[in-house]
Symmetry: C2
Subunit: 213 residues, 2 copies
């Protein structure tokens, strides 16, 4: 722990000593969506070496950020209250990074958990407050995300469910949110494929989730 010591006493140095190591904050990000098992974390972070995941989990546990919790025969990792207090940090950092995001290259995956947190980052309660309750279903590579907006409240769940608009096209959502591409243009260009529902609802989606570059 001496190696990562910054030799300075301040809030940020302390924070960075706890969650500044490579991969650490991404583990926190995924756990902000919900408790996860070891294999789920590994699946959501495709490039993390398994030994690094194991050591990070141990370090974050010692730091009081997360805990191992037995859940009916299996172990899950979940954030402690202290760890959950990182939510504003992760959301703010995600919002900032989002603005500097070029188009996703093909070799870059989009995990359900990362997309969930990106949606939370980009959610505009003020803009959503005036709109009718809407449920969107977004199909990613393998998973499906059920996004329910009701006034200023947002709920993102994994798995299928009844939705007003069902669409496909994982990596185009990012370009929608940054405003890089217009919703209807995304549909006509085939970047977003509407599977069910009125395609015009994609405009509402793009109004609800937005981060200007």
């Amino acid at each position: 722990m001496a190696a990562r010591d910054y030799g300075q006493s301040s809030g940020i140095t302390r924070a960075l000593e706890l969650i500044g190591e490579r991969w650490a904050l991404l583990i926190v990000r995924d756990l902000l969506v919900g408790p996860r098992r070891y294999g789920e974390l590994a699946a959501g972070l495709p490039r993390i070496p398994t030994n690094i995941l194991a050591s990070r989990l141990k370090e974050l546990q010692e730091a009081g950020v997360l805990r191992r919790a037995p859940r009916s025969r299996v172990i899950v990792y979940e954030l402690t209250p202290f760890g959950r207090e990182l939510e504003p940090v992760v959301l703010a950092l995600g919002a900032w990074g989002f603005k500097a995001m070029g188009g996703a290259r093909d070799e870059q995956a989009i995990s359900p958990d990362s997309m969930t947190m990106d949606l939370r980052s980009a959610f505009r309660p003020e803009a959503a407050a005036g709109l009718p309750p809407t449920a969107y279903a977004a199909r990613l590579d393998a998973a499906e995300l059920l996004i329910r907006v009701d006034g200023p409240a947002l709920d993102v769940q994994r798995g299928p469910g009844p939705a007003d608009l069902v669409f496909e096209g994982g990596r185009a959502i990012h370009r929608l949110i940054t405003g890089e591409i217009a919703p209807q243009r995304a549909i006509t260009d085939g970047l977003v494929r509407v599977r069910s529902g009125d395609g015009l609802l994609l405009d509402r989606f793009a109004t609800t989730f937005r981060l200007a570059a």
Copy 2:
């Protein structure tokens, strides 16, 4: 840039690719206080190797976070508007880390810039709004900080100036803010030494700046 690539497309991974390297966010922190010269940055980050400082500055410049700016014969580094948008991130992260901060060890320095940002993190506008305008002067190891609170507005400047309360005791301020020690206790124990003004104003200080653990 391939090494630090997380192989995932999301706001947070992008952010971490830009400012996730060791020392990077500390440079941003100090520049949030104001433009700084190379030597000033080095002085504020006592343990940073000079080659690392040089590469970080280059990388952050390429990332569009900061720029080199000529100021009458000397070069200063200053944040771009994009870089300045990291302020909420740094404040939130600092507030979080602050709560996990044990007492500062002696070998840990407290730089004026880090203290300035810690004060900004811990400032409670709601609590300060009802209090009369107050100026505090805090003497650190070498420098002096002039902290002016006027209603919900906070201004922290370097250097001396007229203050209602002048006190000394850099590392005790942190313990004051976390509530680890009571203001009057800090004075009687000699952790904070009042140089001028009414020592009771330290209570007001501790009300204005607070981060519960």
